[in-house]
């Protein structure tokens, strides 16, 4: 159990490649896996590592994030001492309220960083999904006397037009990072950063203040890329399943990957449960004519039709005669009678009236934004 570290989660990421999925919400709040939001994973990872103090830097469109997290009760972070601190932007004489980038954002919450009695900070993004604990990474960080330890995994090849914050680490034989590349055209390394780093909180404070005094504002571009020669930065490899929601295609692919037993076993390892907001929905109800195959369904669903190769979030209704294939239906979607849905992503509360047909393609799923009625 990690008792000498606190978590700091930066949720300011934007990603235009997620199109309508992140139009009204931050990437951290993008729904994933039938009943979760992106942030549930890294937040649960921290909690499962024994971290009891987590600061969450909110920046853009954080209403749905705040609604989701509440006081942190469902992550066991509603505590008298420590717990979950949501750190929204604010305005003072030196603080403009609007952050240009991650450095501005972290700088505005240095007060929180200083106040924490723990020595180390686990600094994470919020849109990389994996299920691990940070205990071993922290002990390695201490053991190697590194300035910074960065988590990475062996990345899949990416298509250049779907590249998003693709930070590659070039390591020497001892696992030390000698160089980094951000969104390289032809990556020289397969080691891709998982958006998690561990460092001493005094170093974080120093690096942030130093960069700020030079007018810099982006943690990756202005600190990590420039400092890999002078600081001792170590890589820590993670071998489990990592889902990065870089684009709509990634969102689609990683959701459907949950239909594979190995991926489910890895992301939903019962030893490290993933916590999320509880909605007290009833069990999913299968009707007389339900035909469901190879699908993941959350509670509150009512199925009268056919569902194949799909992920259904909480409270989805599929009416009689409707056929849903290769699709992701988010919370409270209703599919009317005799509809045909294939390769579609329907955001929260979308209603499809009777007898409609929507067909996307592998590589280009149709997205309907929150609340649309067709």
């Amino acid at each position: 159990m990690t008792s000498n570290a606190f978590g700091l989660i930066y949720t300011g990421e934007t990603n235009p490649l997620l199109r309508d999925l992140a139009l009204t919400r931050s990437v951290a709040a993008v729904p994933f896996g039938g009943r979760y939001r992106c942030i549930d994973f890294v937040l649960s990872d921290l909690v499962n590592s024994g971290v009891t103090s987590v600061g969450l830097i909110a920046q853009k469109n954080y209403h749905s994030l705040m609604d989701h997290l509440g006081a942190g009760k469902e992550w066991d972070l509603h505590r008298k001492r420590e717990g979950l601190f949501v750190l929204p932007p604010f305005m003072t004489k030196e603080n403009t309220g609007l952050y240009r980038g991650s450095i501005d954002a972290i700088r505005s919450c240095l007060g929180y960083v200083r106040r924490n009695p723990e020595q180390y900070v686990i600094l994470t993004g919020s849109h990389t999904i994996f299920n691990m604990t940070f205990d071993d990474m922290l002990s390695r960080h201490i053991q190697t006397r590194a300035n910074i330890t960065m988590l990475y995994n062996e990345a899949e090849t990416t298509v250049s037009e779907e590249q998003n914050m693709d930070l590659r680490l070039i390591l020497d034989g001892d696992g030390r990072v000698t160089e980094m590349e951000l969104n390289p055209f032809t990556p020289r390394s397969t080691h891709r950063s998982c958006d998690v780093m561990i460092l001493d909180k005094l170093l974080l404070e120093y690096l942030v203040e130093e960069a700020y005094s030079h007018g810099d504002y982006d943690l990756v571009r202005d600190i990590l890329l420039k400092k890999s020669g002078t600081l001792k930065i170590m890589g820590y490899r993670y071998d489990g399943y990592v889902a990065r929601l870089d684009s709509v295609n990634d969102f689609f692919r990683h959701n459907l990957a949950l239909l594979q037993p190995e991926v489910r076993a890895d992301l939903f390892n019962p030893k490290h449960p993933i916590y999320t907001k509880v909605k007290d929905e009833v069990s999913a109800r299968y009707g007389e004519n339900a035909k469901v195959k190879n699908a993941m369904l959350a509670d509150g669903c009512t199925i009268e039709g056919t569902v194949e190769n799909s992920i259904l979030f909480r409270g989805v209704a599929v009416k009689k005669g409707a056929v849903v294939k290769n699709s992701i239906l988010m919370q409270a979607v209703t599919i009317g009678e005799n509809c045909q849905m294939d390769h579609v992503i329907l955001d929260k509360g979308v209603t499809i009236r009777d007898n409609r047909t929507l067909t996307g393609y592998d590589g280009f799923p149709i997205i309907l934004k929150k609340g649309t009625t067709i």
Partner: protein, 409 residues
């Protein structure tokens, strides 16, 4: 802080008619309806009726109930003033005893109730499944200027002999009460839900406690003596689903009532949610060759075989080629490959071996003691049924004399 009404939930019952299901837990902690425990129903009814102070009286195997209720946060009952409290019997400097009856349980906890100085006390029991707004009942109680109000349900006259029957006048005032009458004069059956004016109840409980002949029971002693004294006791008519799940048969039936078309008991009711402790598991997975019809399935379960007209709890596994019909599968149970389960209740973390048959028709020479189960087959909690075993209907699969958990008769 003063409360208008405090609820006292009688959860003490061992529930011996539920057999092996209650060998390690009190009846109110028995799973029900896919995600719930029986006690979630009265607790959720309280919260939905704006009652925020609930005492849960228990003296049998309190661990499962205690850890299930915890701080009450899952029912929104972790309050600064009030909340949910588990109240076991206790000893004092002068005496101390088990709860000798339902009324005695409340009497022993009168100090708990007095803390809130309530005008009314609501008495509930922990083995009934129903959705009810106790606020409506309280309005009725106040309107009638009653000393006590008893919720009643119309039952078919031919079944009335199984219930406590209230005979009322035109104003719903109870003129007499008969426990399980041979010749019922009315069809108004007591639901075991009472509202009392607290000072009146306190006085009667005290008198009852001094009577060594009394069985200290609401139905047998307190209510009859109120009526005998001419106190205004009224019958609050309830219409809606209500079921006593005190037997294996009725527990099974009540589960089936949620999956009937249309359901006799609607659980998917956003205005009257039933709250429960959440198991923290991912959505359920339905396999490539699975078939699920007329059933409930919930988080953490994996279905590869066939499920028809059944209720599956969380973390259940139905392996390839297994078939489950008209059954209730409790949390963590595994139905092995090729096994068949008919009209059964399969207990928590039970394991049905490959190709076993649970609840098959009686074969020539089969002798089954089905006094508790009737036609339902029951597999106890944590019992492992050997691969290829045949359990004729009505069987109770439970630990052997040595506590062995493997059933291979």
């Amino acid at each position: 802080m003063k409360k208008r009404m405090v609820a006292m939930l009688l959860a003490g019952g061992q529930g011996s008619r539920l057999g092996v299901l209650t060998s390690s837990m009190a009846k109110p902690a028995v799973p029900f309806g896919g995600k719930y425990r029986i006690i979630d129903f009265p607790l959720s009814n309280c919260v939905n009726s704006d009652i925020d102070t609930v005492g849960v009286l228990t003296q049998y195997r309190p661990l499962a109930l205690n850890s299930y209720i915890g701080t009450g946060q899952h029912w929104d009952l972790d309050r600064i003033h009030g909340g949910v409290f588990v109240l076991p019997p206790y000893v004092t400097a002068v005496d101390g005893r088990w709860y000798t009856g339902t009324a005695n349980a409340i009497y022993q906890n009168r100090e708990f109730v007095d803390q809130y100085d309530p005008d009314y006390v609501l008495i509930l029991s922990g083995d009934h499944i129903y959705k009810m707004d106790y606020g409506e009942m309280l309005r009725f109680h106040i309107e009638k200027e009653a000393a006590a109000t008893i919720a009643v349900l119309p039952v078919p006259l031919e079944e009335a002999h199984r219930f406590g029957i209230m005979n009322t006048d035109d104003e719903e005032r109870i003129v007499s009460f008969e426990e399980k009458p041979k010749q019922p004069k009315s069809n108004k059956a007591s639901m075991g839900i009472y509202i009392f004016n607290w000072p009146v109840l306190k006085a009667y409980m005290k008198r009852d406690d001094n009577d060594p002949a009394s069985s200290n029971d609401f139905g047998h002693d307190i209510i009859p003596s109120l009526i005998a004294d001419g106190q205004p006791v009224f019958a609050y008519p309830f219409s809606g689903y209500w079921k006593d799940v005190g037997t294996i048969q009725s527990l099974w039936e009540a589960n089936m009532d949620i999956i009937s078309t249309p359901p006799k008991l609607v659980l998917n009711d956003p205005l009257w949610r039933i709250y429960s402790r959440n198991p923290i598991m991912p959505p359920h997975y339905v396999g490539k060759d699975a078939s699920i019809t007329q059933s409930l399935v919930t988080e953490g379960s994996r279905v590869e075989g066939k499920v028809h007209h059944s209720v599956l709890f969380y973390d259940v596994t139905i392996d390839e080629e297994a078939e489950v019909y008209d059954s209730v599968i409790f949390p963590g149970a595994v139905i092995g490959r090729g096994a068949k389960v008919y009209q059964a209740i399969v207990g928590e973390n039970a394991h049905i071996g490959e190709n076993a048959i649970v609840g098959g028709p009686l074969r020539h020479g089969d002798h089954v003691d089905n006094a508790l189960t009737g036609s339902i087959t029951l597999v106890g909690n944590d019992i492992c049924v050997r691969a290829g075993a045949y359990l004729p209907q009505g069987t109770v699969a439970t630990e052997d004399e040595n506590g062995g958990r493997c059933y291979d008769k």
